[in-house]
Symmetry: C2
Subunit: 134 residues, 2 copies
């Protein structure tokens, strides 16, 4: 079986935070909303149900761990969790902190407007906050 | 603790299919895309991580069971799974069959255009197909 390799677009749009047991955790470079992506480090998987049962359980655990931490760090109103993959097929789970005054509340973040990059210091500080919270 | 009661808007927008171990499974009345909703029958839960660990595992199992069945029934290109809850706060998981010629491909279904209701026979036939597949 081929080794796991991160999709190019996911790599370009986000920054590495940490490798968890199953997933690589990354921060989307979009300061409009604190937005994490979890990518299970398994090759050739596109749908959640294609993961082995143990990996499904691990992904649930890691998603919920990260979602709870992000909600606190971002002081969010609601966390949005989604696995879409219509554009990038490599399985990845979005965990997005939403606030009532954000640019597309209460609509979804996917496909909305253009990404706004973080400043370097701002990004570093947010990654450190997330690491401390998980 | 209060008993579980289905949110009014979820009830109005969808039809009952079956009660699984944890979730009520419903069909969104929107013929633009085959769209299921799973609602964990637990009162007072808004975020995935607020469920007890066993319920988190059950929800994952039921979501993936239903997603795999829907992908086959709908001959879908991709399944989109999401828990948003920005409008209806009662925890619910969307499982949507997407096809490359659907009205908002590859964008998300949430917040897009207006719902188109099924005809009664069409709805009944789809619910029967889904029940046979799960």
């Amino acid at each position: 079986m081929a080794a796991f390799e991160l999709n190019d677009r996911l790599r370009d749009d986000s920054d590495f935070i940490v490798a968890l047991g199953l997933c690589e955790l990354r921060l989307m470079d979009d300061r409009r909303w604190p937005w994490l992506v979890l990518i299970p480090q398994r090759p050739g998987i596109e749908e959640l149900f294609e993961l082995k049962p143990l990996d499904q359980a691990l992904l649930t655990f890691e998603t919920n761990l990260v979602a709870e931490a992000l909600k606190k760090v971002a002081e969010a109103t609601k966390v949005n969790v989604g696995a879409l993959g219509n554009i990038v097929r490599q399985l990845h789970v979005h965990v997005v902190a939403r606030r009532e005054n954000d640019p597309n509340w209460p609509g979804p973040v996917w496909g909305f407007g253009a990404r706004e990059s973080y400043g370097a210091d701002e990004k570093k500080a947010l990654i450190e906050k997330i690491l401390r919270a998980i």
